[in-house]
């Protein structure tokens, strides 16, 4: 079974702090994604990556950056956390770079609170 592990379940940070959210997948998937989930707004794509050191902006990349130094690990970075970044963050992975119907496998999320 595919496992996508997010390092923290809950995180509380102060405004202005640099925040790292870590995600690891164990199935050698090429594609990895970071989503943000807010009530009434659904799942919004922040960034994605289709290969090591490759990244693409999603729909809401402002205020975020990502790092993918190893295939299994995809990090989301909040350079200077703000209260409007309080949210649930979901990491996902999928196999096969060119296949567009391979299902996404999600982690269980990190609930980030910025005070």
């Amino acid at each position: 079974d595919v496992k996508v592990t997010q390092s923290s379940r809950y995180l509380v940070k102060r405004t202005g702090e640099k925040v790292f959210l870590e995600c690891v997948q164990d199935m050698d998937h090429e594609n990895m994604f970071w989503y943000r989930q807010d009530p009434g707004l659904g799942l919004r794509l922040i960034y994605f990556s289709y290969d090591v050191k490759m990244k693409e902006k999603g729909d809401i990349p402002e205020g975020y950056s990502v790092s993918r130094e190893k295939k299994e690990r995809f990090s989301l970075i909040l350079e200077s956390a703000s209260t409007n970044q309080t949210s649930m963050y979901l990491c996902a992975s999928s196999p096969q770079r060119t296949s567009y119907n391979s299902p996404l496998h999600f982690g269980n999320g990190t609930r980030l609170t910025v005070t």
């Binding site: 659904g42 799942l43 794509l45 979901l90 996902a92 999928s94 299902p103």
Partner: protein, 114 residues
């Protein structure tokens, strides 16, 4: 703009009833339509999916109905059970898109009363 529009935002159904969630899209390049189910404290997981060359797909109590001309698709949950209480997301992806990236609806929170 919202690529996939989902309704209703919340739904309350009695045990044994039928739950219906609707989605609509505009992009005619979409050719893959999955539904994801999310339980509290968990990430979403693929529930069922359909391609536009069929009008219906059934897996157990879950059925996707697809209307290509109207650009609409819906999820029907027959004999709804309390264990079906979850958030449901419809999604779509386009042929030839980068990675086959999914565009999600905003979600429907389903509550099934015993």
């Amino acid at each position: 703009q919202q690529q996939v529009k989902q309704s209703p935002q919340s739904l309350i159904v009695q045990k044994g009833g039928i739950s219906i969630i609707n989605c609509a899209y505009e992009n005619t390049a979409f050719d893959y339509f999955p539904w994801y189910q999310q339980f509290p404290g968990k990430g979403p997981a693929l529930l069922i999916a359909i391609r536009p060359d069929v009008s219906e797909k059934k897996e157990g109590r879950f059925t996707i109905s697809f209307n290509k001309s109207a650009k609409q698709f819906s999820l029907h949950i027959m004999d709804s059970q309390p264990g079906d209480s979850a958030t449901y997301f419809c999604a779509a992806s386009a042929r030839g898109s980068t990675l086959g990236r999914l565009y999600f609806g905003r979600g429907t929170q389903l509550t099934v009363w015993p």
